[in-house]
Subunit: 163 residues, 2 copies
DNA sequence: CCGATGGGGTTGACACATCAACCTAACGAG
DNA sequence: CTCGTTAGGTTGATGTGTCAACCCCATCGG
């Protein structure tokens, strides 16, 4: 019906393969995480960040910086995770609560992380091989830079309505 | 706290760059689509598929095959899109309704697709350059194959509970 | 001292995705 | 014919993400 070639054939093909790949891969990984360990991808991301910190405790905004989530998403998700016993919000001297990893949360991440990492190695690292993997990492960084530059220039301040 | 190196440094770096890239890129693209045209990424995907068909009408399961969505997601989303006038479900001789692109839906996709494609070109195609883009497309296909093979072997039939 | 500003965080409403359960018609084997 | 099975589709409950509005306190210019 709409027969304009919005991208040319090579571009189409690469772009759509990329989209399909990331969806296939992420669907696969998160489904396993969910079924085997009852953790969503979001849960996993928070637990990874907390478990990699020295003390297992971080402020919400640190987690926000690490994950790039919006603060409201963070707030919602942390309250859900607290309800499930994976983390705890703990008051401390500085006005804002600290997010601390509970024993249960630590056990969960320790149980699932090696298995998850194994899948990433099998389906991503090993399939690409070292060279292509490194190249993809660098290319990814360039794309991120381009997006960030584009965001700063084309829609710098408060853009509402359209850009 | 948890100090096992689940992936080695190079692997970590490449994998996390990749995750960051795909999130940054997709967040950027979908946010613009939403703000400028009131379309979600899901809306866009359906509209693209319909508009690329000869007649602008497809069965739900064809859309499912094209998008890889679960059927319930498809059903929910199509009813929402119908409510907004982007598509219409039309009874036909074969037991199942056809999904048809409305004039409004066609206008929406024609308006936003070139702009969206321009952003993809600017932030993905041009940043990578032809060679790396083609290579990424091929690598993506390999990853998809690996995941599909893995799905067939390691959790073949109806796997519930765990795998 | 006061009011404006801004950062960190919460909340509510809504859009969306996923899962399980269900409905219906078309089969295919007995 | 009939009874299971399967494919296409719908539904409802629940978990999740996003937006806009708000709260609180710290800070800073006047």
């Amino acid at each position: 019906m709409a027969n304009e070639p919005w991208l040319d054939d090579d571009e189409q093909k690469a772009w759509r393969n990329f989209l399909l790949m990331r969806r296939t891969l992420e669907t696969h990984l998160t489904r396993h995480l969910q079924r085997e360990f009852g953790l969503s991808a979001s849960d996993f991301e928070i637990l990874v960040n907390l478990s990699e910190s020295e003390t297992g405790r971080m402020r919400a905004y640190e987690l926000g910086a690490a994950t790039q989530w919006e603060k409201s998403r963070m707030s919602h998700h942390l309250t859900r995770m607290e309800k499930r016993g994976l983390i705890r919000k703990e008051a401390c001297e500085s006005r804002y609560p600290e997010i601390v990893l509970t024993d249960e949360g630590l056990a969960a991440i320790k149980a699932c992380a090696p298995i998850h990492a194994g899948r990433v190695r099998e389906l991503f690292v090993d399939v690409l091989g070292k060279d292509r993997m490194v190249a993809l990492g660098e290319a990814s960084a360039e794309v991120v830079d381009a997006v960030e530059k584009h965001e700063r220039t084309s829609c710098s301040p408060e853009v509402r309505g359209f850009c």
